[in-house]
Symmetry: C2
């Protein structure tokens, strides 16, 4: 059995106690173990801040961009190996493994290019500025300066590579060293990514560390210059963001939490049109991709009440074609849930939803997986529920699996917007809409309850990546229950790791001093 | 004795119990009383959200700008009356009263103009966007959409008009109704401002409410769409920002806390030059203006060790000319502290500083004020301390009065930056510097420990407003101990009250739908 290690203080640390097992979710066999026992978190933090901080402070944006490009390249070169390991460690299909890994390398290379475009500087002005006094000599502008702290990233189990890479890309480009803590159940993939990065020789000392196992007292060490970014459940987020040291030092905290994302079908779409087709295709994928274990997955599907029977029939037909099982079997199109706990929660969660909605596809119980031993493996088939009434639980309880609920709405976009808003903030809402007036109505009535609006219409149907795909150029994060965070979004993704500073004075002096 | 009222649910509410007295700080006489007993906070919140929210949602930015212009004009028309009332309620000199009131009207009129420039829209795109797919049809951009919540503003006692107005200007322009709660000791000025605004007829129903007295359970009612903005002490901020409902709903919280702001004198300035002069003039004003009761006041003055004797002499000479007393006496140049508690804290605080620094001007005790009865009034003379060693307490303990400490540094800007950073985050640092290389060195070594850098140099000396002046075009807020908040800064000041939403789709459709 493989023992995972942490990479701290510029070396690999292997614990000798306190292990937590990792399992192959298709066989339930233990395959590895992780523990951070013996890690000196104080020394790890200091090493990142001092050694890593100095290394990044001495690099321009262009040089940091080269670092990200080298990281992207190193991971890409081991893509096949990482796909195999992902399947072993997390039970994902090859396609789902690629989704995670290609997301990681693409995001790194996107920010690599952004670094190149920022050039040979270590800070920049975010605006040209404005005249403040009687003459244009007295001038003010806002700089984005490095903060000199450490970024601690706590990632979710569902994207061991992408989660690690997208957060690291923004922090490193902004000049902040990273300590990354993957969720333990999928930490083998993250550990291997870290090994590849370390072995590539691309990483200057101290700029990147990895904690496999518990984060110990690391979060208690964070202060006013540091950043804590978390992706995971709303419950854990609430516990962590309330830590007294984070509150009293105004430590930057970014939360990206699971949320009850919605898809909205505009009324009266042409059944032969591309928008209708892409709606069925997207929603089916968003239910089943990564076995529904995505923070951006569609949990609620709002359909005009007079079209819901038709949509139900079409979705059930598509879901019937899904084959859950061990991805090593070539027929399998959807892997198991990641852990026994996830399976138990899914079974329990569908039970909660079924109290107010009707199961129209699936059983709400564990299933045997194709290619897996009977009774073994955390398999759960795609599950669709339906409610025509104003059910409440579907806006409150998220089932983190291949589970979604069809909900009828009156057929006006304003009504759909109000229903979407009942979940109190989500990461993404997908709108399947061809008429500008419908989109305007949605924006005006409730466009602000999601961090991202994915507008699918006929003219772009062939180019759409799916609502669950996080693009580095676009904001990732949402209000309220989704955590209120903001990640990615091009240059804005660096903001979390920078200090915005107003500078006022003699414009010529500011320019000469590099405050431009 | 005047009984202050609250303005909630579109009417004035007068309590009949639970009163807290307000005093004239020059005479210690009670002059008014405040209580929010009997306010229905649930109804007040709902009225703001429903009625006020609908009113603002129906107004374009240009119309909201007209609202702010009308508010500014209404307050300006009562300027003389408000100056008188400020002196009675808070003991400030006429000059200090004008500083508060003119700050209020100027900020309102600044955002009024910004509203006009945003025009006949209710949302806008913050960027042109970028191509996301193979063709430029698939496009993404970021919108700033209204959030549909309520802004609760808890203001500090020192700027009863400005604090109310600057926060309200940004929230109202962004389309969010405001419930403003002034600090009780200076709430009479805030109540009169609110009366003037209500009487002006400019305010649509529900867009502005005022709570005089305790905020009751108002904060417990805030959810995922709302904003809570607080200005005041770091201790109170810590208590409030940790409220479970705010954390669990990801309610937007903005904190602007007192901080240990610094002034830095670059080495080797010409004694006959403008920069040297403006340094002495600024620092003297920043110690004494508003009797030192400003969140932006200079608490630490860093001077090269071989210039500190000279600076001490010059500052003591200027401070000797300050006349504390009742502002109704024409000779008086500095008023009392605002409350008995503030006086006790100042006496106690100077005692703490004096354990590690030497008092070189002032006594650290209460003084009798000119024009005031002996033994009466919360007067405290300007107080300068000095330390040539690496004192620690001056970076930790703030005395919220006319108190500052001269500190020697080695003479290199990097050293000054490190010393400034020891206070763990401040609102503003003023740099008195003529050489670009000195400014560059400061930026590189520690420019990010303050939210604002006020660079004073010879060519702009005649135009400088003073480091304590918050300009609406520039960010107000600072990292760490200063609360980590961001207010003002032109259009950025609206961000707190808006939702940033990524929108992706067919560019032509987005444009037609008004998502541009």
């Amino acid at each position: 059995m493989r023992t995972l290690r942490s990479y701290v203080e510029g070396r690999w640390h292997q614990a000798d106690a306190g292990f937590v097992p990792l399992h192959n979710p298709c066989t339930e066999e233990p395959i590895a173990q992780a523990s951070s026992a013996g890690v000196d978190f104080g020394a790890a933090y200091e090493h990142a801040r001092e050694t890593g901080g100095a290394a990044l402070a001495g690099m321009t944006f262009a040089q940091r961009g080269e670092l990200l490009a080298a990281m992207s390249k190193a991971l890409y070169q081991k893509r096949d190996e990482l796909i195999e390991l992902s399947t072993l460690n997390t039970g994902v299909t090859r396609k789902d493994a690629k989704f995670d890994l290609d997301g990681a390398t693409f995001t790194l290379s996107y920010y690599a290019k952004l670094g190149k475009s920022l050039g040979d500087r270590t800070w920049y002005a975010e605006d040209e500025g404005s005249q403040l006094g009687r003459s244009p000599r007295f001038w003010g502008r806002h700089l984005r300066l490095p903060r000199g702290g450490v970024a601690v990233h706590v990632n979710a189990f569902n994207f061991p590579a992408w989660g690690l890479a997208e957060k690291a890309a923004c922090a490193l480009l902004a000049g902040m060293p990273v300590i990354s803590k993957p969720a333990t159940s999928s930490a083998w993939v993250a550990e291997r990514c870290a090994e590849i990065l370390v072995e590539s020789g691309a990483l200057p000392a101290g700029v990147f560390s990895l904690i496999c196992g518990s984060s110990g007292d690391l979060l208690d060490r964070l202060g006013e210059r540091d950043v804590f970014a978390f992706t995971g459940s709303a419950d854990t987020a609430l516990e962590l963001r309330g830590k007294p040291n984070l509150l009293s030092a105004s430590t930057r905290v970014n939360i990206e939490a699971d949320s009850l994302n919605a898809a909205v079908l505009a009324p009266g779409l042409d059944r032969e049109g591309e928008t209708w087709n892409v709606f069925l295709q997207d929603v089916t994928r968003e239910i089943t991709q990564k076995t529904g274990q995505k923070c951006t997955a569609v949990r609620r599907i709002f359909v005009p009440h007079d079209e819901i029977d038709e949509v139900q029939e079409a979705l059930c037909e598509r879901l019937s074609a899904v084959v859950p099982g061990d991805p090593r079997d070539a027929e399998v199109t959807m892997g198991p849930l990641a852990t026994e706990r996830q399976l138990d929660d899914a079974i329990d969660g569908v039970g909660k939803l079924a109290a107010e909605a009707q199961i129209v596809h699936g059983t709400g119980e564990r299933v045997d997986g194709r290619g897996a031993a009977p009774g073994k493996g955390w398999f759960f088939g795609p599950t669709l529920l339906r409610t025509d009434r104003a059910a409440d639980v579907i806006h409150r309880h998220e089932v983190f699996g291949p589970v979604s609920t069809l909900c009828a709405y009156g057929g006006k976009m304003q009504q759909a917007a109000a229903e979407v808003g009942r979940a109190r903030g989500t990461l993404v809402t997908s709108l399947y809409v061809d008429r500008a007036a419908d989109l305007t109505a949605y924006l005006a009535a409730g466009g602000s309850t999601s961090g991202r609006l994915y507008v699918a219409s006929s003219k772009v149907a062939a180019q759409l990546p799916g609502s669950g795909t996080t693009l580095p150029a676009m904001l990732h994060g949402g209000p309220g229950r989704a955590g209120g965070g903001e990640e990615l979004g091009g240059l804005s993704g660096l903001t979390l790791y920078q200090q915005r500073v107003a500078v006022t004075g003699d414009r010529a002096l500011l320019d000469r001093a590099g405050a431009d």
